[in-house]
Amino acid sequence: MKIIKTCLSAAISSVLIFSPMAYADKWSDQFPHIKATGDIAGDCSYEKISKKNYKGKTLKINTHAVPVIGQPTALHAEQFAKLTGAKVDVTHTPAGDLYAKAMVPFKAGQAPYDIVFGFSNFINDWRQYLAPVPKKYMNSTEMKDVTKSHVGVSSWDGTMYQYPVDGDRHYLKYRKDVIDNPEMQKKYKADTGKTLKVPTTWKEYGEMAKYFNGWDWDGDGEKEYGSAEVMKKDDLMFAAFFSRSVAYAKNPRTPGGFFFDLETMKPNINNPGFVEALTDWVEATKYVPPGGINFGLGDEIGSFGGGQTLFSFSWDDAFIAAMQDDSPIKNKVGAAPLPGSDKVWNRVSNKWENQYNQAPYIVWGWAVGVAKKSKVQEMAFDYLCFFSNGANHQADLAIGNFGVNPFKNSDFDPQLYINTMGWDADIANSYTKTLKDMEKSKNRVFPLRVRGVFEFTSAVATGTSKALAGQLSPQEALDEVAKEWEAIVSRVGKKNVQEDYAVGVKMEDNKL
């Protein structure tokens, strides 16, 4: 009886979740983007938004260049205009200029754009110029589905300023057809005496990457390499470095700050934990593809997604690119948590603790806000709510270069990927489990979100790139970064940075 009940409830749930897939509706006829699901009921569904009338009004949006986030922005703008009668002007801007393009007019007291796209770590610099998300949208069905950590990333001390449209975290991507291949496992064991498995430490990652570097291990006639990583200076490389650092430097037994000691505001960036991570990273230059030290995010996506490397870690994009229909390695890749380490630095006792440690990095991602000075705030929030409604979100998730990644609880259902994207069940399961486990972890690191955040991250990029290029040793490079961080703290004001940083620490210490 119990089995019958379970089966029945599972069947009903499936019908409820995927019922729109079975029936094309009037909306999917008009908007083929959502043909897989049709409209999905919610406060900002196609049905609900079509009842709004914004004829004669203009919405101005500044977004990223096409395709990443720029393409879905433009697509949903077109749909929104068709549904409401509004005129929507979309401006596309390169990633490096998004901050300044909004910040310069903000500083001058102007709002040339009603909606500005950027990264979630802009929040502290932008929030004074952004309108908080109104209660109406906070209580919407769409918002209630957003995970707690992404509500946190979009908010500042309990007030949401950035509307969640994307969810980002760094995790490990690996070639399942190699790691799970019994022949490869045998060969690896014979040659190294070690077991070939999904790496759980950065040392294992390095050993395997080095072994699989520079030979044709997939038999396609081309050489393959160990790892594709974002190492290009100023091209998000600091985030890759933090991903490698969390295992060694985020100690769950020493709350009170990963980047700084919150009490003293002394930078932790040059402590032995970070230095160990940078030493590993310098070693990694030996197992990346030729030119890998100059790889930006696009190169990393192309390299792993194109089947050139065994491993990769960073945002979802490389994994989604690898799992697209046109990928040569579709259903040959796996997802796993970021590797950990066999030791972790204790910054209180100033000693290494010889025990396994792993920490997820909830990295910053695409974020969007509505200008406080916008005269069409309601329309702007309606657009953002529509952007991330159930139907649009599920359709966007399936397109790798849209840059929209899971941030809703419903995104962690493997059936979504199996049914709508044609993923193998075990891959979909490992992917959703990896993401879900990061949400549950109590040892997470959130991005640095303090005033003048770019000064801090730029210093990290400069210092670490000097180490990767061999200009400085890892310790010298990070000492230089720490010195620069101290100078920035002194310029911004210790109390100001401390006050800002305390908000992030609360999240990391699970107090928010």
Partner: protein
């Protein structure tokens, strides 16, 4: 006509001058005396930015010396190659018009687009250059070795801007008087002696102009570095303008970036004046 009336006719030009030249310079000076960044407004902080620049920012000076090396090297190469090409098509050769147009093509292309193409050429794992060189057992690290990355920047800059030098020098050659060459021919001067004692001295004034114009342009090198290497590996190809761009538009330290820009402008005015004087003395002895 009243004497004062003539000044009325100067106003449009004066307004344009103030609008596009004087005002931006004054604004940059004012900005450089402020701490304008993402967390401060246009507050007055005196000479604080300049003190920081001169006492606590070795990276700016390193990028300046790197820029000096890159610009002087590229301009010398552009001058030598440009002169050789101009000299070649100055003579009556077959397909003269075709070559004159061909040599100008790089200059007519968009620098950013061409740099992206060069970056693809020099891509160490996917680019055609290393693909060909790998047949000879070589795979140079064009963009990831600190020394080679500088050479790559020089190659791209020389390719892109030699045509400009070629154009100026060809115009100079075409305007030279014929008599000195006839006299040299009557005296039986060899082509090399003719070049050393007639062509080169006659071309000296144009050469100085061309070199100075190119030095001014080369000292602003930014797009090539931005697209090709992002200043890396490490900081090995970072130039002053790229560093100012990072501080101003990436880190949003507008006040500090303005102080660097203004300092850089003063240094360039002084150094280019000395270079021009030095070249004049060297090439126009008589």
């Amino acid at each position: 006509m009243n004497f004062k009336h003539k000044y009325v006719f100067l106003f449009p030009g004066l307004f344009v001058l103030i609008g596009i030249l004087i005002f931006p310079i004054i604004f940059v000076v004012r900005l450089s005396l402020s701490g304008w960044n993402s967390y401060n407004g246009l507050n007055f902080i005196g000479l604080e930015n300049y003190v920081r620049l001169f006492t606590d920012d070795p990276r700016f000076w390193q990028s300046f010396f790197r820029l000096s090396f890159l610009s002087v090297t590229t301009v010398i190469l552009q001058y030598v190659i440009g002169f050789a090409l101009a000299h070649m098509v100055w003579k009556d050769i077959k397909f003269q018009r075709f070559f004159r147009v061909l040599f100008l093509i790089p200059m007519m292309t968009t620098p950013v687009i061409m740099t992206v193409i060069w970056r693809t050429f020099f891509h160490e794992s996917l680019g055609p250059v290393n693909d060909i060189l790998s047949n000879f057992g070589m795979s140079p690290k064009w963009l990831t070795d600190p020394t080679l990355a500088k050479i790559t920047v020089i190659i791209v800059e020389v390719w892109q801007w030699t045509p400009f030098m070629f154009l100026l020098l060809l115009a100079g050659l075409l305007s030279l008087p014929k008599e000195p060459f006839l006299a040299a021919a009557i005296d039986g001067a060899s082509p090399i002696r003719k070049f050393i004692y007639v062509t080169f001295p006659l071309m000296a004034p144009i050469s100085i102009g061309a070199i100075i114009i190119r030095l001014i342009e080369a000292s602003k090198i930014m797009d090539t570095v931005y697209v090709l290497t992002s200043g890396g590996p490490g900081t090995s190809t970072e130039t002053s303008s790229f560093y100012i761009f990072i501080k101003g538009l990436r880190e949003f330290q507008m006040g500090y970036a303005a102080s660097m820009s203004f300092t850089y402008l003063i240094i360039m005015i002084i150094s280019l004046t000395f270079i021009a004087k030095g070249l004049t003395k060297l090439l126009l002895k008589d």
